[in-house]
Amino acid sequence: MNSPADMQIADPQVAKTELEDPFAAAMAGQDVRGRSLWVDAWHRLLKNKAAVISGIIMFIMLLLVIVGPLLSPWEGDFTDWDNTASPPNFETGHWFGTDAVGRDILVRTLEGGRISLLVGLVATLVSLAIGVTYGAVAGYYGGFTDRIMMRMVDIIYALPFMFFVILLMVVFGRHIVLIFVAIGAVNWLDMARIVRGQTLGLKNTEFVEAAVACGVDHKAIIRRHIIPNLLGVVMVYVTLTIPQVILVESFLSFLGLGVQEPMSSWGALVNDGAQDMESAPWTLVFPATFLTVTLYCFNYIGDGMRDALDPKDRA
């Protein structure tokens, strides 16, 4: 970690944004307490153009993925024998073309997106649940319990976790629920570490001491002071974990260890496309683009949220 002197001279960008921030306006509002943390962060986030644009793109992507397959004239597993491996063509109605057995790439991509995004969300929630509980318990009890629990995290951390996901998939079969659990179960370590660190730190902050001194009871302290401060970091981490998880799932599907036919995900589609790419490059390009755009946007949103909610921890 850096010395305190280094910490003060963080990015000048932060200092500038904070000066420009309508602190005075916020103070003039009635509910000063409620506004400070979240509204401030929200303003900072809205100033981050990359994050805002990414947010809008992700919203559109989500809509497309959910609604798109319902509107499309094709079913994901329908094989159009008149148009096998045909390039993108508006006349036949296959806007993104078809694969070697005549399935519409557009619908397949959107349906694959459902699975990819679902895995991203659910597996992140699994890792969130495990990580926050584990980290909070370790941080809260402290002492010996904490040392043992964090030592275990250190040990697991040193393991080549991707190999364990592969092992889990091989051992327990390729059911989609297992994908959620397997990825979530190996992804909670960072979350546990961060939550533990935050909990430890928050227990001893001046504002918590001040609250205690003012006679605020413990429940209120946890609700009003600990949780909101924890939530910021956790939210940032969730946003950064989602793309990681999507990536892991695509990785598994690409190796043929992820979701199975007729279900599909972007990783599985990229795998299919990569095999036909010489004769039908569109089967590779479209799913790959959707996957990349999604990961790109999530990373920008995560970055933006980190800058907005957690200005101190920026590198």
Binding site: P160, M162, V171, N271
Partner: protein, 314 residues
């Protein structure tokens, strides 16, 4: 840093490796044994006598705990046992065959990533908040976001299939066949290193001693090279541990796409075929490498960072 401190620290860390390794071996062992189906399940059903003989030869008929301790004893002598699928090969031989290939690709990728990543990170930091900075960081984010297995087919498509400049895959230790896999593997690491370097370089450039150096009238490039570079590279050094793990993971995909006979492809094949000993061997082997590299990175970090003194730790 004083010699005794570093020795004591190294000894403690090395001792700390033992429980980590034990956990690694234990999880891997029991996980793979929970898998339905065994190494000798195939299309044709073996006669029971032959099956029993096979099981006895590989000690599969013993109670699981006995097999576990037998395996532990075997590991201590650095013997990973025979492979179940590749007949006539021991796991040690397979690792000895696959690892040099993986090491070459991974090592070159790491070197490339370090050189390119730090250079463009410093370039961006020196032009902070300019168009150049934004475009470098935008491309870096793209490098992080595009998965290896998307980059690889696209590169093959453009450079090998359409242009025909480079071979699409295969392995014969020639430079031409190394270029694509090494570049593909290095790209995300370049991106991470560039982002890390930029961030820490900006922080360092705002510190007092850099201001002092500038005030003395030291030329800009000397300020960077003599004063700013080392502290700015510290986060990159500590990233080398996770980066290695990432490269190893990435190599599984890269080796498959480019048909490279490295350790990663053996692992995937082994996992699919339930080649217990091979899978265990690769997991343990890579686990040890990652753990040892993290250890070396730690020492390197301490050596480069004057703020860390292991002998002064209370």
């Amino acid at each position: 840093m004083n010699q005794e401190g570093i020795l004591r620290h190294s000894a403690t860390r090395l001792l700390g490796l033992i429980p980590t390794l034990l956990v690694l071996i234990t999880i891997a062992f029991f996980l793979i044994r929970m898998a339905p189906g065994g190494p000798f399940d195939s299309e044709k059903v073996l006669p029971p006598e032959i099956r029993a003989n096979l099981d006895a030869k590989y000690h599969l008929d013993e109670p699981l705990m006995q097999q576990y301790f037998r395996y532990l004893g075997q590991i201590i002598t650095l013997d990973f046992g025979p492979s179940f699928q590749y007949k006539d090969w021991t796991v040690n031989e397979l690792i000895a065959r696959g690892f040099p290939v993986s090491l070459t690709v991974g090592g070159l990728a790491m070197l490339l990533a370090f050189l390119v990543g730090t250079s463009i990170g410093i370039t961006a930091a020196l032009r902070q908040n300019t168009a150049m900075d934004y475009s470098i960081m935008g491309v870096a984010m793209l490098g992080i976001s595009i998965p290896n297995f998307v980059v690889a087919p696209l590169l093959i498509l453009v450079l090998a299939v359409y242009q025909g400049w480079l071979p699409a895959g295969g392995w014969d230790w020639s430079i031409q066949r190394m270029i694509l896999p090494v570049v593909t593997l290095a790209l995300p690491v370049i991106a991470y290193i560039a982002r890390l370097t930029r961030g820490s370089m900006i922080e360092v450039l705002h510190s007092n001693y850099i201001r002092t150096a500038r005030a003395k009238g030291l030329p800009g490039h000397l300020v960077i090279r003599r004063h700013a570079l080392k502290p700015a590279l510290l986060p990159v050094i500590s990233f080398m541990g996770p980066a290695t793990a990432g490269l190893i993971t990435g190599s599984v995909v890269i080796e498959r796409i480019y048909s490279i006979p490295g350790l990663g492809s053996y692992f995937v094949q082994g996992a699919l075929n339930r080649d217990y000993t091979l899978v265990m061997g690769v997991v343990i082997f890579y686990g040890v490498i990652i753990i040892l590299l993290n250890f070396i990175v730690d020492l390197l970090y301490a050596w480069m960072n004057p703020k860390i003194r292991y002998d002064e730790v209370q």
